[in-house]
């Protein structure tokens, strides 16, 4: 690990001034990604600003029925929050399917949004990686790419976004609230992440030093009927090969509205808008779900070892929709 200096932020202002204009400075929250990557020399910040003392630890109801989640709320606390379990079960389920109990106790809401890919080559500093070292090449393209993405890829990067939480947040149309040199910003999650394109090193719209303060969930009357389905190599404690976060508004057997996002298959948490459209107005049931799954994987581009993900992702979507429909709204 490279040497760094460490400082605790006492408040938001001292956090922002600690990182803004300081190339090499980074925020430290739960540390479950950052410390790991620092041990691997993938990330080498020269200064860490510890933001864990900041008071963004509350989950509060917003006027109008939405919910605001402080950036420092730990994943385990969020997953077990009563309001999340009842109103947004898909988020609770996604969180509990991720990582391990210990890691969930550490990881924060803001930090999870910025989780880095598990691409083996990104994590291995001896191999070329455009995300880690722009222009060096992509080792996964012709390497072992079983875990890699089939949606949103470019010729420069096929790394998968690893988070479960973010898939649920994407289905729920979350808004990410940030604070930076230019004041507060409110960013819809679907505009927060970049696909790799020509710049895999740029993963999101955050400016240097900009800090996530909260995540807001809009009021959505049907999200009680939502579900997260995750498929992985072992029964627990593994990253998704494929996952789906879905919510269904079913009235009189007919789908009025739907939300579908996928994990494990995209270079960012993947919202499947076409699949949602395919569901609306259809009778809830296998035919509609199958059509939605086909639409969700339309345009998928596979590589040597990950072609299986197309069918797996379709089945994951179908299963998630089936399970969600069985819930009472």
């Amino acid at each position: 690990m490279h040497p760094f200096s460490y400082r605790q932020a006492s408040d938001e202002q001292s956090a922002l001034s600690g990182v803004s204009g300081q190339p090499g400075a980074a925020y430290l929250a739960g540390g479950t990604t950052l410390i790991d990557l620092m041990k691997l020399d993938v990330q080498k910040p020269s200064q860490l600003i510890d933001i864990t003392p900041l008071p963004w630890t509350k989950i509060t109801e917003l006027p109008g029925g939405g919910v605001s989640i402080g950036a420092m709320v730990r994943n385990s606390d969020l997953a077990h929050s009563e309001i999340i379990m009842t109103r947004y079960p898909v988020l609770s389920e996604a969180l509990l399917s991720g990582a391990s109990p210990q890691l969930r106790k550490m990881a924060t809401t803001g930090g999870n949004l910025l989780q880095r890919t598990r691409c083996y080559y990104f994590r291995d500093i001896t191999t070329p990686c455009n995300k880690r070292e722009p222009g060096s090449g992509c080792s996964a393209m012709d390497g072992y790419n079983r875990i890699h993405a089939i949606l949103g890829t470019s010729k420069h990067c096929i790394a998968t976004h690893p988070s479960d939480m973010c898939v649920a947040l994407t289905a729920l149309d979350a808004t990410i609230v940030t604070r930076g040199a230019k004041g507060e910003r409110r960013i819809p999650i679907n505009e927060f992440y970049f696909t790799p394109g020509d710049h895999p090193e740029r993963e999101n719209v955050l400016e240097p030093g900009e800090l996530i303060t909260a995540v807001e969930l809009p009021a959505m009357p049907f999200t009680g009927r939502s579900h997260y389905r995750k498929v992985r190599d072992r029964a627990s404690y593994a990253f998704a090969l494929s996952s789906a976060a879905v919510a269904l508004d079913i009235q009189g057997g007919v789908i009025k509205d739907a939300r579908i996002a996928m994990g494990g298959v995209g270079t960012k948490p993947w919202r499947a808008l076409d699949a949602e459209k395919a569901l609306i107005g259809k009778t809830a049931g296998p035919d509609a779900y199958k059509a939605a799954a086909e639409a969700a994987l339309h345009g998928a581009k596979t590589h040597k070892d990950n072609a299986f993900k197309v069918e797996l992702a379709k089945r994951t979507v179908i299963r998630a929709l089936t399970m969600a429909a069985q819930k009472t709204a």
Binding site: P3, Q102, T126
Partner: protein, 380 residues
Amino acid sequence: MEHGAAATACPSDPALAPGSLAPDFRLSHPRNASLSLSDLRGQPVVLAFYPPGWDPSRGEQIAQYNKILTQLPNLHAELMDFSVDGDWYDLRFAREQMRLPFLANPSPQPEIAQLYGAEGREALFVIDADGVIQWSYRAPVGVPPKTEDLVEALRLIAPQPKEETAAPKAPRMALTRRDFIAATLAMAFALTLGAHAAQAEPEAARMGATPMAPAMGVSGGDTMPITLTVNDAAHDLQIDPRATVLDALRERIGMTGSKKGCDHGQCGACTVLVDGRRVLSCLSLAVAQQGKKITTIEGLAQGETLHPMQQAFLTNDGYQRGYCTPGQIMSAVGLLTEPVGPEDADVRENMSGNLCRCGAYPNIVAAIQDVRKANTNASV
């Protein structure tokens, strides 16, 4: 880089210059037949002289080796394991099936260091299959070992992995697992923490540990004064910000109950409680824990009375080797205060962050369920 000048730091003694025959010596070890350097002809050998306290069988140093090896793309080798034979370490690498005898720290026989002009300093000699010195490096006395020098040494032998597949000529006696663990535990100093030998903790000294070895490859940053509260006792430490809670516990405070398994948050062997919540000490920085209460496996028992979870692990035989056990127990204690369903399946899911190769899982689940049932009965 500094080690570019390493070659010029080679011994001035012409008998030790590259191209000359490596002086032979005999190693005697109480548990083993004596072995000469010349017995190892037919394969390359690395002679490494390090200050006391350096031990390549330590987890940190294994990790360090792997880091070094990743810098040698031609080698395509990953260090798999060690066998230890007296003063020799046999490093085994994956893929190439390569074995590399590695003489480290022959301090019990100072005449060997003398023979190679390496008393009290770091020195490395790469000796080829014919017993000829190919490369050597001797650091000035008092200069800490540097990873780069080892990289340089391994780089030299990397391009000829085929030659190294030859079986060692010398008979090897494998160290038993118990010996290995004992040897590992005896060496109580982390590579990553070692930059400040002079500040070795008095507690550590009382425990009979050797002074902290200088770090390899780290140009230590500034240290910080912190107070860690562990099992209700305050520990004042001057610590490198890079130190994890796990390293601080094991290497500075002398509490080796928390184990280092993967050191990357994937196995749970390092689980401790921070303010009552189970977390991974290998991914937690020590400097970030001030004002928090850390509970380790050492802090569970009340005097001679075991914590109910410890007792339940004993009663249910919830361990095999035992290396994962402190992490399993701490995780299980943390679980008791969490919303976890009543079934065995719920326990399994909520213990999934503690991985081991052992066969103790069913008994661990039974132990945890015993404690949970007793708690339920007690609170009814």
